[in-house]
């Protein structure tokens, strides 16, 4: 299929928000300053699981400088109902319960009460004067522990949903689902080789640099105004309205610049609390989390326990695949095990599949989305087993995957049938990459590859474009810009309008000023908000053609536009010339686009990792790393590459060192960026990228989302590389130095076969 030629799409203009970001002028949530503003502080539970017997805020209220204290009792107690949280639905009671605990605390860091005071030091000191009597309860910290018959029950009212139907089974399993395709027993009977392994992954955090924050003003007219760092201003608006029992129109949310989110800034934690403090004090209140709060009280991604069993024939064709996925939801149901079930075998064209998923509540912070949530865990399991099969069958790991790769028409076990996808193209690009073609030499070194899939989402977006008299346009949209989306959206409008990307001024606005727009998440923004911009630009072009027709006294249908020039017969006018004459042809031109697109195109990504393992310390050095990903169409290749590199780096961190290190009592012992070890620039090589473009037939420009698939395969690729370097396969993430040494020391570990490092 030949690619259409574009003027703007595929180029690399400077991002519209670049200057403000590099000069430090961009306004983030913590920068918000309002006249008379107070500072809020949230008191949090020291226990992982306890009954709250009594909360006495008296001394805190009386502390000089304190203006208000709130607890769960200050909030409306409207009947429970299901609310949309941006990337999923949940009972309002869970949202409320997570915001301020009532009756029980379910994890250490669970919010209990909040104080507003003249400064944050006073607020903090006053919070320490709040008296809370707890009755500590036993806690369950991992899915296997929480699933045991004698496990402490976290929610007395929880009943398991079994294969889609409610049951009377109490316990900590919120849901068990199963996807079945073909006949799993028959499939395994056809196999020459079966590999079955168990895997565990630790809880990890998104690790965005900017902590959550919220500033709220409950205005005298009854309106609640909020400034905050969020991936979805409309989610904050809707959740806040629900929790405060206000009409949605009474809440206005202004999203500030955002210092990273990766899914973790979709849930709402602080905004309604700040609003309630503002209501009580009549003054704006700002709350900013500390890093410890971020780790202990915002959603990490689930830890998981998994079993994967795959059978293959000698020729490398997979005959059957089975997965058991038990994911930790944290304190409230909703582990991202559903997406794990959708992606666990998605890269392969399989006949016989069974997938069982369990959503398990545990005494840890309520989990949130993290970049392709659930998929990296699942891929770690699947891609490790696939690697072992290829190794044992003596087949090149990329060839093995090519023999089984999903294609257009492949039906996934969870139902959907793939439209045009780039799985094979990604594998071919991996095989032909300079990286894979360069042999890896030297002792204690190994290369691993892995493949990953993320389905991406659509969801609603809105956009308007106003034409200025000099031929520039203003584009108004509602998607928080995390990875350069102002520009990737503006570029799609520019392409339609036939003007330069620089002639489009994109602005992300508050919830009063643009139509509903869903979260920046699910790799949807360039796809869906880009599509809204495309529609808005088409609308502008329709109107401009009418204006040109008016000037030329002809039919609009006879006016053509290409490359920023309008023509009819031998008459022509540039976009700017026409823009200058809007006043005389009927007034301003405003184009609108509002979409809820269905043609979502999933993305495949592959990682190639070369590592060296120090056989004496167990430390893994990433020598070289390549990310290959199908972007559909890369609107701005630099930002696509940036996503690929970012996802790879996060995946490497997850693979090697990141984890919540929990005490037996459920306290996170490493709640700082010193001890929660994300990779730094010194721990990484430059991540090489290779963009594959298999256009998505469901988008006007062929866009697939690119924000997530890239984090799916890295952990597995690193695990496979470690296995080939050190001679031992690890089944738990992270594969930190002590874990690697322990594997080497185990009977059957290969420490004696390793070549000692040259001193």
């Amino acid at each position: 299929m030949s690619m259409p030629t574009y003027k703007v799409i595929g180029t690399r203009p400077v991002r519209h928000d670049g200057a403000d970001k590099v000069t430090g002028r961009a306004i983030y949530g913590a920068d918000v300053q309002l006249a008379g503003m107070l500072h809020g502080y949230v008191l949090r539970s020291p226990h992982a699981h306890a009954r709250i017997l009594r909360i006495d805020t008296g001394k805190a209220q009386a502390f000089p400088g304190v203006m208000a204290v709130v607890t769960a009792d200050d909030f409306p107690r409207t009947p429970d109902r299901i609310v949309d949280l941006g990337e999923g639905e949940t009972p309002l009671s869970c949202v409320r319960g997570n915001m301020l605990a009532r009756g029980k605390v379910l994890y250490r860091g669970h919010a209990i009460a909040a104080v507003a005071a003249v400064n944050m030091h006073v607020a903090e000191e006053a919070a320490s004067l709040i008296e809370v009597d707890y009755e500590p309860l036993a806690c369950a910290l991992t899915a296997p522990d929480a699933m045991r018959a004698d496990a402490p029950v976290i929610h007395g009212s929880l009943r398991m949903k079994e294969l889609g139907a409610p049951t009377d089974t109490p316990g900590n399993v919120a849901e068990h689902f199963r996807h079945v395709k073909g006949d799993i027993e028959k499939g395994f009977a056809e196999a020459d080789l079966i590999v079955e392994r168990e895997f565990d992954t630790a809880t990890v955090h998104q690790g965005y640099i900017e902590p959550q924050n919220a500033t709220a003003l409950w205005n005298n007219d009854g309106r609640v105004l909020i400034w905050c760092s969020t991936q979805g201003a409309f989610v904050v608006r809707d959740v806040t309205a629900c929790v405060l029992d206000l009409p949605v129109s009474q809440v206005k949310v202004t999203p500030t610049e955002i210092g990273g989110g990766f899914g973790g800034k979709i849930p709402v934690y602080l905004e309604p609390v700040a609003a309630m403090l503002s209501k009580k004090t009549g003054r704006p209140v700002k709350i900013v989390m500390s890093r410890k709060d971020v780790f202990e009280a915002t959603g990490p991604t689930p830890g998981s326990h998994m079993k994967v069993k795959i059978g293959a024939r000698k020729d490398g064709r997979i005959t059957a695949a089975q997965a058991y996925l038990a994911f930790e939801a944290g304190a409230y149901p909703g582990a991202m095990v559903g997406p794990a079930g959708m992606t666990v075998f998605a890269a392969y064209d399989l006949e016989h599949v069974t997938i069982d998923g369990y959503d398990v509540v545990v005494n840890k912070p309520s989990t949130a989305a993290y970049r392709a949530p659930g998929a990296p865990n699942a891929a770690f399991a699947t891609e490790s087993v696939v690697d072992e099969l290829a190794q044992k069958l003596g087949i090149d790991p990329i060839e093995f995957r090519l023999k089984n790769a999903a294609k257009e028409g492949t039906r996934r076990a969870d139902g959907p049938k793939f439209r045009k996808i780039g799985c094979v193209e990604v594998l071919e690009a991996m095989k032909n990459s300079p990286h894979y073609k360069t042999p890896l030499q030297g002792p204690n070194r190994g290369r691993g590859v892995a493949l990953g899939f993320w389905f991406n989402v659509g969801l609603p977006s809105s956009c308007t474009i106003s034409v200025n008299s000099d031929g520039t346009v203003n584009l108004v949209e509602g998607s928080t810009d995390i990875g350069g989306t102002r520009t990737s959206i503006a570029m799609q409008a520019a392409e339609v309008l036939g003007i330069a990307a620089e002639a489009v001024q994109p602005t992300v606005v508050d919830t009063d000023s643009v139509g509903f727009t869903a979260v920046t998440g699910g790799s949807r923004t360039t796809f869906a908000t880009g599509w809204a911009a495309y529609e808005a630009a088409q609308d502008v072009m329709r109107q401009l053609k009418e204006r040109a027709a008016k000037l030329w006294e002809t039919e609009a249908a006879g006016v053509e536009a290409a490359g920023g020039v309008f023509r009819s017969g031998d008459r022509s006018m540039s976009f700017a010339e026409l823009a200058a004459r809007l006043g005389e042809t009927g007034g301003p031109v405003v184009g609108r686009g509002a979409v809820n697109p269905r043609g979502v195109g999933g993305s495949f990504a592959g990682s190639i990792a070369d590592v060296e393992v120090d056989p004496e310390t167990g430390k893994t050095t990433i020598l070289r790393f390549t990310c290959v990903q199908d972007a559909g169409k890369a609107i701005h290749p630099s930002y696509v590459e940036g996503q690929m590199q970012g996802g790879s780096v996060q995946g490497i961190g997850w693979a090697l060192n990141e984890e919540y290190w929990m005490s037996e009592q459920g306290a996170m012992m490493n709640s700082s960026l010193l001890d929660y070890r994300m990779p730094t620039s010194l721990d990484l090589p430059m991540i090489e990228t290779c963009i594959v473009e298999v256009p998505n037939p469901g988008h006007p420009f062929g866009v697939r989302g690119v924000g997530e698939a890239n984090i799916v395969p890295p952990a597995a690729a690193v695990a496979n590389a470690v296995c080939h370097a050190a001679g031992v396969r690890l089944f738990r993430l992270p594969m930190n130095p002590p874990a690697i040494m322990e594997a080497l020391w185990k009977p059957g570990g290969k420490s004696s076969q390793l070549v000692p490092r040259n001193p």
Binding site: D675, R677, L682, D683, P737, P738, E742, P759
Partner: protein
């Protein structure tokens, strides 16, 4: 964080007088430990005495004969920025450029690292290996202590109420001597030692004339393993001797299991790091000869 008073005396006697009047005061050198602790609500103080304006605490002087005087508040960047000091003590240059990152090194002092008395402090094993001593001043006068006696428990040191650390003294390097500090961290920077080994050796005629070995992060205080160095004395300079000393260091370690590593793993690291540090120290000693 609670309110506190701040004073920045210009002379040692002023500082000592303030300290005598406020026994609960805390010293501020680079503040890279102190400020972090205060913000976390640990060890609050009513008075913070900034000691960076006191001449004696800012002294950095190397003399071939008498060795190095290192003022307690001298920031790391001054150490690795001083060519003479770096030449005479490559291992000190190494440690000063290891602590934190560039920004931290602009403030962090070796004196602060020592007084903070963390089991993981990176400079302490090296100071012990180098045979450094501490000049301590108090209202009652001055005293000298060896670095290996300085730390008494995690976060605790031998300074009595009213005392402060003025400077450290490192003996002049002798011919045929070399030293090194090596730590293990899972990342490549901005991390706390899972274990570390500071070593100093003096070689003569292919034999160890003397050796001193100390470990970090494997005991409540930085651990001086005198017996490992003593054992090396008189042994030939070869892999076998080095491995033997490394095993003694490993046996002396008393680590705990925590988020930074397990007991077994840390003990194992002691032998690897001691061996590797000794190899570097020997190479340095041989280069000097």
């Amino acid at each position: 964080m609670k309110w506190f008073d701040y004073a920045a005396p210009k002379t040692l006697s002023e500082a000592l007088a303030l300290l005598a009047a406020h026994p609960g005061a805390r010293m501020l050198a680079g503040g890279t430990d102190l400020l972090v602790q205060m913000r976390a609500g640990r060890k609050p103080a009513d008075l913070i005495i900034d000691i960076k304006n006191i001449a004696e605490l800012n002294e950095l002087r190397y003399e071939r004969a008498s060795g190095l005087t290192l003022g307690a508040a001298v920031a790391c960047y001054r150490i690795y920025g001083d060519a003479a000091v770096s030449r005479a003590y490559p291992s000190l240059h190494q440690v000063a450029s290891l602590i934190g990152g560039t920004q931290i090194q602009g403030r962090a002092s070796i004196g602060g690292n020592l007084c903070n008395a963390a089991p993981s402090a990176d400079s302490i094993p090296l100071l012990i290996a180098l045979g450094a001593t501490c000049r301590i001043a108090g209202a009652g006068g001055e005293r000298v202590a060896r670095v290996e006696e300085f730390c008494t428990a995690p976060g605790k040191n031998i300074l009595a109420a009213g005392e402060l650390l003025v400077s450290m003294h490192v003996p002049a390097p002798r011919p045929g001597s070399g030293a090194s500090y090596l730590r293990f961290i899972p990342r490549n920077e901005m991390d706390i030692a899972v274990a570390g080994a500071g070593v100093a050796v003096e070689l003569e005629n292919g034999k160890f004339r003397s050796a001193r070995i100390a470990l970090s992060s494997v005991a409540p205080t930085p651990l001086f393993v005198r017996e490992a160095g003593d054992w090396l004395t008189g042994k030939p300079v070869n892999g076998e001797s080095i491995a033997g000393a490394a095993e003694i260091a490993k046996a002396a370690a008393k680590p705990i299991t925590d988020m930074r590593g397990t007991k077994e793993y840390r003990r194992h690291l002691c032998s690897v790091l001691t061996r590797r540090a000794l190899e570097t120290a020997v190479r340095r000693a041989q280069e000097v000869q």
